[in-house]
Every structure is written in C-alpha cells, then in structure tokens.
Assembly symmetry: C2
Homo-oligomer: 409 residues x 2
DNA sequence: TTATTAAGTCAATTGTCTTGACTAATTTCT
DNA sequence: AGAAATTAGTCAAGACAATTGACTTAATAA
C-alpha cells in the first residue's frame, strides 16, 4: 500500500537530554578552568545557581567532581571550588600501526596510567586480532592494579589506526594495513572486550589528545597536522572532532600535488614526499626496524645532506599544506604533531618559517599560526584513549538528542 | 583581590531550549520530506506522539504548518499529513558585489517573491550605504504588496558580499570592496532597518541557497565551490554552514599554488587563474559592463581559442581544488555553482572530467562526486535571504543553548 | 462480523530548571 | 565597633515540556 520511503529527520530531545548536556557542560568547564565554584559555574553556563548546585551535588555523588577548601575572594561569602576527580572515569586506547601496536589507559583528566607495546604477529588481522585482545586484557589488568576504581569506571575503548577507511587500498603494503582496514575490528573488539569501541584514524586521535591535554586544549577551531608513517590532519571544528561523511576527513596525505621540479600534470600524493615513510626511503632506513626512532634521532642531531634535502622538501610541501588548511578552515591555530624525535620536529618547524601568507595573518591573533604539538610516539594511543572520555563527558550536539546519531567510521 | 580571568565554558540549556529544538526539528523534517503526519513525525524524531501533537498544534497556531486532507495508508486510522506554510515567514537577502547590488525576498520554503537590482554610486560605503538602505526599503514595500502577511513575519536580513573579512585587503580594487569589507555594515543596516542582520561571504550564501532549495537539500556534508568574480567555497558540515574562527572559512580563492608552467616557488592565489575576474582579463572584457553576462554567454556558445584556453586552465586548477576539498572534508558531494551562463558552466564541468582520483571514489556512492548547482546570478542573493530563515528555523546546536553563541563574521 | 492495526487524544505523572525568599560569611564604609 | 553591602549558597514552591498508559476513532484483513 505504502511506498515506505524512509523519513529523513533529525532527532528531538527532552528534559533528560538537556540535563545530560548540562552535566557535560559542567565537566567541560571544570576541565578547562581547573577549578570553579558553583557560583562561577552558574555565571559561566547561564544556568541558575540552584540548577548548578543540583548538578554538582549529583556529580559529586557520582565521584566525578570534588570540593576543595573554601577560598575568600574579596567581599562576600567565601566560595567552595570544585575540580574533576581523575579517578572518576578511565578509558583504554589502542593504536595499531604498521610496525607496532600500543595500548594506554588514561583517567578522566587524561593522565596516562599504563602503557604497553608489542609487535603483532605477521599475517594481518586474522592472526593479529587475538594478540590485540590479549594486549587489551593485559592493559586492563594493569589498570585495575594501578587504579582499583577503574574496574567499574571504564567508559570505553578507543582505537586508532592509519586511514583511510572503506577505500580500495594499496595492496602492496607489506604491513597489511589494508587488511586491517577492511577487517571488522570494531565488532571483534566489542564482543571480545564487552566495551564500547570506536575507531578513528591516527591523525584524528592525535587531535583528540591535543584537545584534551595538549596545544588545542580549550580551542574550538584547531587543526592538527600529524606526520607519522603517513600524513593526516585531525580537524577540531566548533569544539568537536570532524569526521566527514565517511570518517575520512583530514586525510591530507592523499592530496595530489605536483612534486618540486615535476611536470605540471605529474601529481602525486603529498605523503609520498612528506611522511616518515618518505624519510625512511630518502635515508635508506628500514621502517620496520625497532630502533628506527633512535636512528632518526641521531640523523636529526647531525643532519647530513640527505636529511637536509628531505627536510627542505617536506617543509616546502607542508608550507603549502598549512596555507591550504588555514585558507579552507580559518582556524585559531595549526598544530604540527607526529611520532618523531623532537630534534627532527624542531628542524621541520624551523624550515617551515616564514609561513606562506594567508588569511590567518590578522591583527590581534592570540595563538601562533603554527605551533608544535606532541611529538611523543605515544600521542596517538593517548588520543585513542581520550576519545571515549570525550565522547562520554564532553558537550556535543549528538549527546543532547534522543537517538544517538552515530557516524560510521 | 581577584585576578578576574574570564571563565571559559559552554552554555547550559533547559526545557525551553529542548522545546525550541524540537520545533525546529519538526520544521526541518517537513521541509525535507514535504509532508508528514504526526505519527510519522513521532517516529522520525524519536519523540512521543503526544509531544509531537502539542508541537504541531502550536506550529499550526503560529501559522507555520497546515494540515492536508487525510490519507488512507493501509490498515488503521487514516493519517493527517502536515506541510509547511510558505507564508509562515519571510526574509530579505542583500548581495553587495563589485558591479551590482541585488535584493530578494523569500518565504519559508525559499520561494522568491521579489527581486531588485541596482548599481551603487561610486565612492564606496560612505555614499553607498544610503542607497542600500533605500533598496531594502523598496524591497520591503514590494514584499508587503506581494504578501501582506510578511509585514509581521519578516525574520531578518541576510547580507552576502565577497570576503574575506577582517583582513588587510587588496587596496587596488577599483570597486572598493575593501572599503565595504571594513565598513560597519551590519550595524548600519541593523539600525537602519530594525531587522536582525547577519553577514556572510558570497560562497557561503551560495551554499545556503543550495542547502535550502538546491543540490545540497537534505545533505549533511556538502561543499559548494562558488565561481564568481572571485573564487570561494561554502562548507556544509554536519548539516550546518561552517564559518571558521573568523567567518572566513572556505576562501579557497586565496589558496596559493603554482600556476601551470610556473617555477616551483611561483605561488599565486588560485582565483587569479580561476574566477570570472580572470576570465575577463583573459578575454579583455570589462567586468563593470552591465552586459557582461551576455557577452560571456556569447563567448561560451562559440568558444574561441582564448575561451578554450581559459577553460582548460580553470579546469586544471579546479580539478585540484575539488580533489583537495574531497580529501580534506570527505563530503557526500561537491557542487559547482556561480554566477555564470549555463553554457560556460557546462563547458567547465565537462573540462573537469575525468576528476582526479580521491578518497571520494568509493563503492555505493549515492550522490555524484561533482555536480552542477545554481548558475543563476541571483543565487547568492537568494542564499543571503535564506540565511535568516535557516537561522530561525533549522535545528542547530547553538539554538538549544541559553546564551546564543554568535560567531562574529 | 470480528479481529487487528494504526492515528491520534485525554489526563495524570515525572523530571528538570526557575523563581523568590532566605541564611551565612566576608569586606567596606561610617 | 557596628552597620551596610556584597557574594555564595540553600530551601521550597512553581512552571514547563515531555512521558505514560488508557482510551477513542477509523481503517483493512480474516
């Protein structure tokens, strides 16, 4: 009788949605400002003192916030500040990369409590999935040992791996990332761990880390360029990570552009020239070498001609990338991060200046156009762990709505 | 006593915020689906039948929706569909461009009711502001004549002009756009018209038009490349127009890239090669000529060598721009629009194919990677007029919050 | 004719924020 | 020293909007 076309509509909300949002706003405000009194919170959130009082009391009962000693702030009754309780929530992060697999556990404020690293057995996900589950189990045990409360307060498992997802990928990748990308990893880990599992690409995870405990803390519009084995960008727009229609937003390593000295139509992916993979190629390093980081570190400390040439090339491309991202997104700042030795990062940042002119050159900037973020190789795993915390506690549109709008990775 | 640092926090919400959101969700659903019954709406929005009934009754009393004849849909009581009432709201759009100033008035569903065009007196905003106010007044009168209800139902004035805003601009622009860009236009128009005035750049306006009545209707992730006198992009992300930290997001005409055949470091703004301005330059046309459109139309119908060369050049650059945007945003589709004769648009679209490979090439795409949007020169003015409608009636995060978070243009 | 299904209403309930009056603690003014 | 002003925070009642569950109405299917 009826054609049964699907009805397209956004979800509605109710008082509980509003309440959930307000709880998140309180937590966000405490995270951003360190400590605030109930009156501070009322002013900052435009809610009434009474509403704030009720919510704070609830959060205190839930073990998410705690009061500090009263402070006198001039005239009037002294205020009682509140702060987040780190042990209020925990999450585990998993990074699957080509040469290494890492897990970390973090608490509500982003402190790292455990970290583990392993090399997956060759053979892709069919064999590797089991090892990954074992690693997570081990991490969980270590976390419970370090923080017994975590047993009931684990909010989820965040997974980060190189993107893009859902695309016919390079088949000539010896680390079988393509196999991992098409493997039903989220489902496998969900059933294997009974945790809420979400997947993002490594650049997005790096951006999540920068947002929670790094240079993007408190910024609503920030872009993280992540220089790892590949090249990507994590996009923080309107205070939330932007994923795009298919979870592949920010894969700037796949921008096609002309190499220096190439012909007009000789277009190649940016990450062929600007990534740790390209550095390894340029320096004849073995990317699978467990001591790769130290080798690169040594090279960066005493750069020879080949290192200098790679840096010049990479900086040339990154200048363009930064200018493009600034022009397209109009962000407050761009953050350069990646799993590389600090020496290399400094050389690269240096070589990027002066930056190309862009609309980001405006009077009264508060943040620098480009700054260095985490270069810690663990940043991606930390960001992966930060995602469940962010999803559970940060204010976001989808958290208000009745049926959670989940974007497929 | 106290250091008085500002407290950073997001705004809270309450039942009224939730209610406002639900109203918007209903209107959005009716806009997207044409007509829906209360039961349909309840299912689609995850609200209860009763809640929907109350909201719909209220919207009907407010003159925003109306019921249609009951329809039998198989077993069960027939349902009563509702649809939007076009006369429920009106808005005026103003486009200030280099050579021409246009106003249009639209209703709730985006139908254009009046359109006016004028040439501003030379001398920039000091002299032009008065003429603009007069034009708006004239439009308002014409609108009231065409739709008497509009007198009490005018929700705002949307203004579109070329960006970027707040940047030290080209001073050698004979049309004094720089002067307009630094002129306090919003304030002047606000006081002069007593309307709610908001400013956006022309590409954003074009995207707003595409979203309300064009190719982006119902899409949550779409990019509109706007080829006008300059070159820009309007970004629809998560169903909302993205403005960036300073309202300049999408100014892709200012991407610096190497011209075909140029040296590696010979970087120039994209719009120097890809814009109607560059076309005029290439064809020795006078951009201020009131018959410019017809001249270009004639050229496009019988393209000579110079036209072909320009198209090849522009398409070469646009291919790269589309690939960059797809890679960075991972949208559902990219829409090419602009104020140009359809013949030229077709030639351009043709020359853009085959598109460069990108992550947008995935199985099961529902929308084409690139499609043609409005080429109507009035699209920007229509988009400007659609902005107040969208701001007033579309679901958006900021509409739920207590203190409206307004981004400065 | 009867059962089933679906749309939509009625009336009471619930959850959450708001309102306005209040208490408490501190500094500033006289 | 005492009074006034200011600020933090609580108490209790009220308002608002969605929910709940029973009900009515109207159609098709058996």
């Amino acid at each position: 009788m009826n054609e049964m076309r699907p009805i397209r509509a956004k979800s509605g909300t109710n008082q509980e949605g509003a309440s959930a949002h307000n709880r998140r706003v309180m937590i966000d405000a405490l995270r951003l400002n360190g400590q605030l009194s109930r009156a501070d919170l009322a002013r900052a959130t435009a809610l009434t003192k009474q509403a704030v009082s009720n919510i704070i009391e609830e959060l205190e009962n839930d073990g998410l916030v705690t009061s500090l000693a009263a402070v006198r702030r001039g005239r009037g009754q002294p205020s009682t500040p509140y702060r987040l309780v780190p042990e209020g929530a925990f999450a585990i992060g998993l990074q699957i990369d080509r040469h290494v697999t890492r897990t970390v556990a973090v608490d509500l404020v982003g402190t790292v409590l455990t970290r583990k690293e392993t090399n997956l057995p060759a053979g892709g996900p069919e064999k590797g999935a089991e090892a990954v589950l074992a690693l997570i189990e081990e991490t969980r045990r270590a976390l419970v040992k370090a923080a017994p409360k975590s047993k009931d307060r684990l909010v989820g498992l965040g997974v980060a791996m190189p993107g893009p997802f859902g695309i016919a990928a390079d088949q000539d990748d010896p680390w079988m990332m393509a196999a991992w990308q098409s493997f039903p990893l989220v489902e496998t880990l969900s059933t294997g761990t009974a945790l809420d599992v979400r997947l993002q690409n490594d650049a997005a995870a790096a951006a999540t880390a920068e947002k929670m405990v790094g240079a993007a803390h408190g910024l609503d519009h920030a872009l993280c360029i992540y220089l790892g084995y590949g090249l990507g960008a994590g996009l923080i727009l309107n205070g939330e990570l932007y994923r795009g229609a298919n979870g592949n937003a920010g894969e700037i390593g796949m921008i096609l552009s002309r190499p220096r000295g190439g012909a007009d139509d000789a277009r190649a992916p940016l990450e062929h020239r600007t990534s740790i993979a390209s550095l390894c190629k340029a320096l004849d390093l073995d990317p699978a070498d467990p001591d790769l980081y130290d080798h690169i570190d040594a090279k960066a400390r005493m750069p020879d001609q080949r290192v200098k040439a790679w840096i010049a090339d990479a900086a040339f491309e990154l200048q363009a990338a930064v200018q493009i991202l600034e022009t397209v997104f109009d962000p407050q700042t761009v953050i350069l991060c990646g799993g590389m030795p600090p020496g290399l990062a400094d050389l690269l940042l240096d070589a990027l200046h002066p930056l190309l002119p862009s609309i980001a050159e405006r009077r009264g900037r508060s943040a620098p156009r480009l700054q260095l973020g985490f270069t810690d190789p663990w940043a991606v795993a930390i960001g992966a762990a930060a995602e469940p915390i962010s999803r559970t506690f940060d204010p976001r549109f989808s958290a208000i709505l009745k049926t959670r709008v989940t974007a497929a990775p």
